[in-house]
Symmetry: C2
Subunit: 417 residues, 2 copies
């Protein structure tokens, strides 16, 4: 017997037929003697409809009321799943954020979870009940509904898993696991049986859209093994695969991964724009001014590259911002020209960030050198480089995305045998 959380996204509960399929997955785990909490998203498309209504109501609207409206989606899907489970003979009860309660801060629309009364759900497990938890929502101290931001149901699932001391959090999604890269670009991409939390964190933040970044952070902090699998797998019959698990990817501690690869995956993100400041003064405070102004405008800066000054007085500075914020960021920089002091600003939304990720890099030299050499052989110009312990990210012309990703995927031996 284990205590598990099962999370199903919007496409998995898009209609009653699919909700019944979800219920069969839950029944399988329940019948096997497990204590089960299910976390569900809203029916696919439903949240978009609700969001559209709030925008139609007023372009700039109160976040408290937005949360009240939008949280209705998960309220509906959790109630419907509870009904279907009961119909299948599985005792079930829906739980809204305020009923558990799942306490958050009061940052409406992008709330962060503070505390979950896991004992409420555990008490129901003892009564033989499955808990169907409405994802994405919580309640703030002022008794108002909050939501966790788009994709927040993943975070709900992992946080609930931590709160009830679950043995595992299963994320059912519309793909059958995490791949070495996007299979639409590299047909040879392989599904990873296991991936370390740290690696998944980089992949999630770099554009692999399987899991929300915050949920991976939470899983890592609380050490919750998180299993990504397809909700379209047949729900009944024996589950096969490594460690008695069906096809999927287990996100876990690195020491649970026996055969550690040097490079685990190639991620890429097209949601980037590059801004370069030429000949800024090489003196303290300049960077603070640039990034302070952007921060004031709520623009997140990602890659920052600043070269050592050639003449000791001036230097060049390059950074990336989300593509959606590009025009605004350029305007902010131009408006601050006198305070920053630069000779020229240029920008381009035509860039892509490609990243090579792998915990094995820590102990292996030469990964970057191989990378630069392989790209040079294909005449791909690297516009900026940034590295961490377990990843190397480069900025290149967007036109070379596919070529670069395929080249690197093959270079590090990730192609399917």
């Amino acid at each position: 017997m284990a205590r598990i959380v099962m999370k199903f996204g919007g496409t998995s509960v898009a209609d009653l037929e699919r909700i019944r399929n979800v219920a069969r997955h839950v029944k399988r785990e329940f019948d096997a003697g497990n204590e089960v909490a299910v976390v569900v998203s809203a029916m696919a498309g439903f949240t978009n409809q609700l969001v559209a209504w709030t925008r139609e109501a007023a372009p700039l609207h109160d976040a408290r009321e937005y949360d009240t409206v939008v949280a209705a989606g998960e309220q509906i899907s959790s109630g419907l799943l509870a009904i279907v489970l009961q119909e299948m003979g599985v005792p079930a009860r829906s739980w809204l954020g305020w009923q558990i309660p799942l306490m958050t801060d009061n940052a409406h629309g992008v709330a962060r979870i503070r505390q979950i009364a896991g004992e409420t759900l555990i008490e129901r497990f003892r009564q033989g009940q499955v808990a169907v938890v409405a994802g994405f929502q919580g309640i703030a101290e002022d008794n108002r509904i909050t939501t966790l931001g788009r994709g927040g149901s993943d975070t709900s699932a992992v946080a609930v898993a931590a709160a009830i001391g679950a043995d595992r959090c299963d994320i059912y999604t519309d793909v059958d696991g995490v791949y070495t890269t996007d299979p639409r670009i590299v047909p040879e991409a392989r599904r990873l049986d296991r991936v370390a939390f740290e690696e998944m964190l980089e992949m999630a933040s770099l554009g692999a859209k399987v899991l929300q970044v915050r949920s991976v952070e939470l899983a890592m902090v609380h050490g919750i093994p998180t299993f990504v699998r397809s909700s379209f797998d047949p729900p009944d019959g024996p589950q096969t695969g490594p460690g008695n698990l069906p096809t999927g990817t287990l996100i876990c501690d690195e020491d649970e991964i026996v055969e550690q690869q040097i490079v685990t995956g190639i991620a890429f993100s097209k949601d980037e724009a590059k801004i370069t400041l030429r000949r800024v003064a090489d003196q303290p405070g300049v960077a603070a001014t640039v990034f302070g102004r952007l921060s004031d405008a709520h623009i997140n800066v990602d890659v920052i590259v600043q070269n050592v000054s050639a003449d000791g007085r001036h230097t060049d500075m390059t950074f990336t911002v989300p593509r959606a914020d590009f025009e605004q960021a350029m305007a902010v920089i131009e408006a601050s020209a006198d305070d920053i002091g630069y000779e020229e600003v240029s920008g381009s939304a035509d860039v892509v960030k490609v990243s090579v990720i792998g915990i094995g890099m820590r102990s292996h030299a030469g990964v970057a050198a191989q990378m630069f050499k392989a790209l040079a052989e294909k005449s791909i110009n690297i516009q900026a480089i940034t590295t961490s312990e377990i990843k190397i990210s480069i900025l290149i012309d967007a036109a070379y995305t596919e070529l670069a990703v395929r080249t690197l995927h093959s270079l590090y031996g990730l192609d399917e045998a």
Copy 2:
């Protein structure tokens, strides 16, 4: 300055354009210095969609989960109206049943209101805020959402009015008031400026679909003047009409009605079926058996007529049931034939109940005699008669509905001058 409740039904909040129209009505009252609580239904058609989903999930489903799903409709509309009001510069906050709280018993799906923490809303009035209350929903002691049954938003509105000590409850609907009878059948039907609670209660329960019966009961018990008006009236500009009110019908205490008519209105209900038992034993316990069996099958009996026995040993008994329950009621009676003891049972769904209603009847003799004479002149056969202090109801062949209603409407001087 007054404290008022404004209630808007599903067609009044069917889309964002109509919600904006509702908001203008609210803004008018707010700008006039009133303290305002608005009670809203779900957007038209939305509740039906949610109900259909629960049925698709399981034909016989848990009422707790049904309530969780269905209450989402009012959650959405109340949040959207709060947003639109804020956009118009009216401070507003949405209130769900559990947030006020609006406590009910735990009869899920058909819950009855026990207590409303009106002080929560009054506190917000003091802060200059309009309270937008999600109708139709409450919370039971076990912390689960309850709903009040279809049309329950009217009841929510009147109950909130009582809880906050409102001066008036305005019911905005898709008609401009209460009529002497259905204008689709009698073009000469007149809108009533005022109608007494007791009369409205009879009209509501007899098929005039303007207001839910329970809301009229509540308004009567708490003495809340309830004003029925059209939500399609222009929301801005001066409000005209009797007592500074716009066109509509005020439901109030009878002593506030100066010119009391003998007959106020003619109601009719086609939702009836008639069952007659011939030659049942005229002895104690027989009626208890008949209506006990029907009650066990959750069938409501309305009109009951039993004649004085002719031979001292047998009598005939006629009663009506909702047309939807007719077949089941017949089956129950036939299955209980031995216990009841009757010679013959017959039934017909082809009947209509027509009622003449008016508080003036109390002090005027001859109303019934006039009625029977007028119908006899049109050769309309009366199948059963039942009376109360302020109404006379008859059962007739459904084919004569229009003729009977028109005849009575004209007989009692209700036709428009």
